[in-house]
Symmetry: C2
DNA sequence: ACCGTCTGCTGAATCGAGTTAGCTCAGCTT
DNA sequence: AAGCTGAGCTAACTCGATTCAGCAGACGGT
């Protein structure tokens, strides 16, 4: 048998005629020699390495975002691909270096990822290669991107409270500067859902999305004699801080105050009572991004992945209210 | 100029004589064309891809272990290498598949990693390739491995308490089954250090290394009228559970009870008061593993990486004790 | 008998580097 | 002047696949 024939059989090409007998012989021989094609040689000829480059700012900071990498790796493997990973730590020079190194190794495409959802601009070189943006938003609408559906997540959180019977005295905890996509979208979703039910936030507490600032801010809120019936915390760390302040004030969750949150990090199930949280779909994000990248055509456009509510024990019906509260007046 | 000459100049080989003038011309041309060698072609010839395969059981579960990947990726980049990552989820078939896929792509070596330190046995194929075990221990002493120095970590935790003035009424929280390396080593280190100061653990509380079981166990301990002056928690999640139980019992940290812990996960700095914890050196682990892998020879043997104490606010001098306690009697 | 067509295969080029063997020419020796 | 040496270079092969172009032989039609 000639190499040509073997090649056609093994790569499964049907555009050359091969007898059943010859095909059997080739397969038999391949099995006996436990033949493995040399992918470097193949890549040299075909320019296809069955390899994807994942370029991200940080893989470890927002620790549980590793799920994103996990989804990508697993899905790539399903499609016989392997993933290179590269971390830029937000440094443009490192980014350029990483991208070039991947290009030199002939990656078939890129996943350009951010650990916090945000607007981002991939380096110019990538315009000439298949790219899917993962957890970040492109400036150019022809670029394909996958992000969590934060707007809907906001609605989901608000709905959870409404369905439990809350309507007034709902406070938002966490700042929402315009450049933080998750914050503004979640807030928009919350507002939309509440206003559809003819109600609105009783106020909001500005603080960084960390336990300590959230603790201080909620403590302050309570000190000013506000009596929230529910808190919507913009992430689980904020909820953690809120828990600390509520517990210190002798308020019971969920009897006195209900709490919903976002992210569904590990923390959510560690808190007492366990925290109801709208989950970031990190695993699914990674999965979809790879699927889009490996699909025939990249159409462009942003795909939003649903964020499901993980309903636990921090939401209950509002308590009967006694007088003397200041709730209702906007707080800022 | 011939391709040969160019090749010799650009790969920096000095075993052929090349005039300074020729060298200049080659370099000039390379710069003008912004020449980048095709690494696939090079790999085909040299069998060197400047690529490392990282095979691990899970990259995301113990979330902050992503630091390990981070250290490895960054160090690989420093040495002009790129990292493939593969996740097995503990499935031997997947592992075999991942290793084979990496081999097909010609990786120069492997990092065989576990997210929890444990004994592990890499698949047989890997015996014929350079491997460094990362955060896991080989059966074969000729294999090179990098693990945290848990024994010393145990000493460090104990010393922190001794130096604060604790000597008696120190309890361990968390189970230590023989197959859990971190647990047994930490305990051994603690015992060694305490006994050198002529003291010993007052008792230990058996529970899984999670907040909920730890909460229940410490609560039980207090209900049985034990009055610990300090707790050594086998990880931060356990400490979290302990915090919840102590606070519920009205005990103040660190005034009434000091707490030290292990891992230094994000949680440690989120707790109130912030938790003193002996840090897992994940970043350094990843770094060292790559350095060893890329060094000339793999000598075999296990390298232990120091675990530093992150001293925060959960340890203080013991309070003056009042009567009526049962401390001192072993608890199990 | 001749031509054309289809089937089933093969030889040789190709991808882009690294590597080996050997060639040319200058300068020096004898 | 012939011979040797070494400096400086190049032609051709190699890695292991894919792929292009084409070649036998069978078969059918006229």
């Amino acid at each position: 048998m000639s190499r040509t024939t073997a090649s056609f059989v093994l790569t499964g090409r049907r555009d050359m005629r091969i007898s059943a007998e010859a095909e059997q012989r080739v397969r038999q021989a391949a099995r006996e020699l436990s033949y493995r094609p040399n992918l470097m040689a193949r890549a040299l000829r075909t320019r296809l390495t069955h390899t994807i480059g994942l370029v991200s700012d940080t893989i470890a900071t927002e620790a549980f975002a590793g799920e994103m990498v996990r989804g990508a790796v697993a899905t790539a493997l399903l499609h016989e691909h392997l993933l290179f990973i590269g971390e830029t730590e937000g440094d443009a020079a490192v980014e350029k270096r990483v991208v070039q190194d991947m290009l030199d190794r002939g990656v078939d495409g890129f996943l350009y990822a951010a650990m916090y959802t945000r607007h981002a601009r991939p380096p110019a070189v990538l315009r000439r290669h298949p790219v899917v943006m993962l957890n970040c938003l492109p400036a150019d609408p022809r670029t394909t991107a996958v992000v969590p559906d934060e707007l809907d997540a906001g609605r989901t959180a608000a709905r959870a409270l409404l369905e439990a019977g809350h309507a007034e005295h709902i406070y938002l905890v966490g700042e929402t500067p315009p450049e933080v996509y998750a914050g503004t979208q979640r807030l928009a979703g919350i507002r939309e859902c509440l206003s559809q039910q003819g109600t609105a936030l009783a106020g909001s507490v500005d603080c960084l999305w960390w336990p300590e600032p959230a603790y201080a801010a909620v403590r302050q809120l309570l000190a000013e004699d506000h009596r929230p019936s529910a808190l919507i915390c913009l992430n689980d760390r904020v909820a953690f801080g809120a828990y600390q302040a509520l517990q210190e004030a002798g308020l019971s969750i969920p009897v006195d105050v209900s709490v919903v949150s976002f992210d569904d990090s590990d923390l959510a199930s560690w808190l007492r009572p366990q925290l109801s949280s709208v989950a970031l779909p990190h695993l699914e994000l990674g999965r979809r991004a790879v699927e889009l990248l490996l699909a025939e055509h990249l159409d462009g456009g942003v795909e939003h992945v649903r964020m499901p509510l993980r309903d636990r024990a921090s939401v209950a019906a509002p308590a009967a209210r006694r007088g003397g509260t200041r709730a209702g007046r906007p707080h800022r």
